[in-house]
């Protein structure tokens, strides 16, 4: 069984700045991969490359059977297979929650409106937001908006879901509701790649943890890797994060 996502020796630079320096990893079906690392390590860029939001200069990326390094890539077909949730939710402010979710199924898959509405209710129930279907995004909290954003992606039945630091912009008390939804998805067998700072979540839910540093994959392993770091950089990174958390709990 081939991997859902396969990166091989990916290099990317922005102008003269080298952001990805020979990145290779694989994510299989049903796996949950967490990418961790400092800002500037390239983790968000690698996620954006997996969804063809950025182009690469060298290497290969295969996602759900699409070859991203190929010039003849059909981007729309790729986007139908891959869902992405952004740090700033990016909900459409002029549409209600329900309309936000229905827009793509109706416009892209030509699903009739009645059916699309049922689909919207279904995914909203999955994320616990069915009561807010008629509300507009500005009436919701950050956590609620993010859950709607997840539902919006789910409505297109993607084979792979990407999460780009989706809790980083939220107040601490709101991250829990979003992480619970993501854990549910993982348990349901969705293939997921998340860029995250939530170490506890990564340890608990991820089947593979990828630590990136200076544009390279520095260490990979299961969640236990965070307790037994092999390299000094990962040791410092984890130590720094748990140090902050220890201080916060005081």
């Amino acid at each position: 069984m081939s991997a859902v996502v396969s990166l091989s020796n990916v290099h990317k630079q922005f102008g003269s700045l080298k952001v990805l320096d020979g990145v290779s990893f694989e994510v299989g079906r049903g796996e949950v991969a967490a990418i961790i690392g400092q800002s500037g390590s390239g983790k968000s860029t690698v996620l954006r490359c997996i969804n063809a939001l950025e182009t690469i200069q060298q290497g290969t990326i295969d996602v759900c059977g699409h070859a991203l390094h190929d010039a003849s890539l059909n981007r729309r077909a790729l986007h139908l297979d891959v869902g992405i949730v952004f740090q700033s939710y990016n909900l459409f402010p002029h549409l209600t929650v329900e309309q936000n979710i229905m827009l793509a199924p109706v416009s892209v898959k030509s699903i009739p409106k009645k059916q699309a509405r049922e689909l919207a209710r279904e995914v909203l129930t999955r994320v616990g937001m069915e009561a807010k279907a008629e509300n507009y995004p500005e009436q919701l909290s950050g956590g609620q908006q993010q859950r709607v954003a997840i539902a919006r992606s789910l409505a297109m039945s993607p084979k792979l879901m990407l999460f780009d630091e989706v809790t980083s912009a939220l107040d601490p008390q709101l991250t829990g509701e979003v992480l619970r939804v993501m854990e549910d998805l993982a348990r349901g067998g969705m293939t997921m790649i998340l860029v995250t700072h939530e170490m506890a979540f990564a340890r608990k839910v991820a089947s593979k943890v990828i630590y990136m540093h200076q544009g390279k994959v520095w260490e990979t392993g299961s969640g236990d890797m965070l307790d037994q770091p092999k390299t000094a950089e990962l040791r410092n990174f984890v130590g720094g994060v748990s140090h902050d958390r220890a201080e916060a709990s005081v």
Binding site: R76, H94, A104, S107, V108
Partner: protein, 227 residues
């Protein structure tokens, strides 16, 4: 020398005034709708078009904004006649008004388009929407909602500016007033009454456009806030 104001001399002319109001409304309404379409297309071109489209629209906009409407009306009216085509004064008036208001609408809508954040477009594309679908659902719709108040102001101004077309004998309220005053020799009273009529018209048009906005922009009606 004392002057006796005699507004009653104008009373028998109220059907003429009414006709003038109706003609002005028609002229403005047609020019408004067509001007909006033209302006929006130009705004899209200037915001997201190729380099030469951007240049062409910029030249068009600057030419219109830096020359008087009166001169534009003359150029179009006489220019068309020079080409050998015979157009009525009213048709020439509509063309001139559409071209004029198109330029101003272009800038207003363009500001709205450019205020839509890039991340919105990214989110739409990642859901699989095509470029056209993204542009319509995620860029144009909120942009127009956002600039609607400015657009309505433009159209009230258009209605007032339509009085200029009387100079090429287009049929509208000012032309009617000119005729009435030459009939009654009550020029001052005629123009006072006409001024008041325009005032009332602009009020009515403003209210109608506001109601139209409430009907179309559901979000604004429900939430009472701007995007």
């Amino acid at each position: 020398m004392t002057y006796h104001f005699d507004f009653s001399a104008l009373l028998p002319y109220w059907p003429e005034f009414a006709r003038g109001i109706w003609l002005t409304l028609q002229l403005s309404a047609i020019s408004t709708v067509l001007g909006f379409v033209l302006g929006t297309l130009c705004a899209i071109g200037r915001a997201d078009g190729s380099r030469w489209v951007k240049w062409l629209v910029a030249i068009y906009v600057e030419a219109i904004r830096n020359t008087p409407l009166l001169v534009q009306v003359f150029i179009i009216y006489f220019g068309i006649a020079t080409l050998g085509l015979h157009v009525s004064a009213n048709l020439a008036a509509v063309i001139a008004l559409v071209i004029n208001v198109g330029a101003y609408t272009c800038e207003i809508v363009r500001a709205g388009i450019e205020s839509v954040h890039k991340s919105q477009i990214e989110a739409a594309e990642c859901l699989g929407l095509s470029r056209v679908q993204t542009y319509w659902h995620v860029v144009l719709r909120p942009a127009i909602e956002r600039v609607y108040p400015a657009v309505t102001s433009q159209y009230v101004l258009l209605m007032l500016a339509s009085s200029i077309t009387s100079q090429i004998s287009a049929e509208e309220l000012t032309a009617v007033a000119n005729r009435i005053q030459s009939d009654t020799f009550r020029a001052f009273e005629t123009y006072i009454v006409t001024g008041v009529l325009y005032l009332l018209l602009s009020l009515v048009v403003r209210i109608c456009l506001w109601l139209f906005g409430l009907a179309v922009f559901v979000r604004r009606r429900k939430l009472g806030t701007a995007i």
